[in-house]
């Protein structure tokens, strides 16, 4: 699988992860996005956008978001997504098997 993004396998630096996610969302929203802004409340999280965000996180951070992890609570804010990425990358060697 080829992606535009270089998969970053270094130890998790949450600022870097947050920065990449924020940049992605701001390009979508065409507006600034705060780290703790509730994206569902601001209406950004339609299922199409959610799907795109899932694919973005998977290709950028080398993770697979499946099953029970695919829930609104993990995607409501930038902080939630950073926590999800950290947890999935910390899971071990098979974290990037998507």
């Amino acid at each position: 699988m080829t992606t535009d993004n270089v998969i970053d396998r270094d130890p998790v630096d949450s600022d870097v992860v947050a920065g990449k996610i924020t940049a992605y969302l701001e390009a979508k929203a065409k507006a600034p996005v705060a780290h703790d802004e509730d994206l569902a409340d601001s209406g950004l999280l339609t299922s199409m956008v959610a799907m795109e965000i899932v694919v973005f996180l998977e290709s950028t951070f080398g993770i697979a978001v499946v099953g029970g992890d695919l829930k609104m609570r993990n995607f409501r804010t930038v902080d939630d997504m950073v926590a999800l990425v950290a947890r999935l990358r910390g899971d071990g060697e098979n974290a990037g098997d998507a």
Partner: protein, 367 residues
Amino acid sequence: MSSRAEHVKCLVWDLDNTLWRGTLMEDPAVTLFADLVEVVKTLDARGILQSVASRNDADLALRRLEELGVAEYFVLPKVGWGPKSESIRELADELSFAHGAMAFIDDQPQERAEVEYSLPDVRCYPAEQASSLPDLAEFTPRTVTTDSRRRRQMYQAGFHRDAERAAYRGSDQNFLRSLGLVMTIGRATEVELGRVEELTMRTTQMNTTGVYYAEETLRRLIADPAHEVLTVTITDRFGPYGAVGVVVLDRYPDVWHVKLLATSCRVVSLGAGAAILSWLRNEAARSGVHLVADFRPTDRNRVMDVTYRFADFTDDDCSCLAALPAPDDGVNRLHQESVFQELATTMQVHAPDLRPVELTENLTAGR
């Protein structure tokens, strides 16, 4: 080698001495061949789109079509001086139709030859055949639905919408809000069965189980009091999207079983699937039942998986699942307890009351 569709989806008309008598550059007051107005209207009512490929001055030709009262029947007319095969190719791209679903009619043999040479899949007809086109099998679709009758308006609304979206400078979300979306959910009737069947067949990306429901099956489900077959239509300020979704529901006392949710790809970006599920969750909550949905993962319907899970469906086990027959191989059961939540503000939803009769009667009795 030719790969022609069984039916023509778009017929492209030449103007001079084909649609109208005479040559516009010589006679600005050309008139339509009298019997062709009826042909144009007949094909339009069958859901066949029509356009124009003419060598003329664009402003003059389009104005004349307006004056003759037929301009509205032609989508994306191509008037200019380039080869007609290019016009037809461009049109097929804009409509996302295969060349084999396009047809072309022209009085000039060399124009037809040019199109036949460059686009061998396009059906070409001489002008003499114009009045008999509606009698041909390739211009006679098997079924004519409400959506086929308004197909042209749906396409035209789509062109305006796309143009406005491309020019819109705000967020996608604000654009959606600006559309004034109205979703209407209704119980399917006999009349709509053809379109419902078509939706279960064509919506591979957005079909939760990949099950195709034949018209006879749907007719039986409509007649069965335990089942609900619901159709979903959407309109916005540009016009109708037509029938865009179908839900098949089997109702048990404590749980409603969503056997199928399929939506058209055209409305995925509107959040249609999520809006349907939110409404269904609230109906289930008001009826005091859980929701269980069948989902068969494929390599194409992942967006539906995300839609379900973002709508609070989980893999968690629940005693209500025991009421349901065992799922087919490869089908996952997703579950939720149905807690009432306010609906999103991007779409107005009009829908029937799905609560069981006992409940609504108790309510009207003041309980």
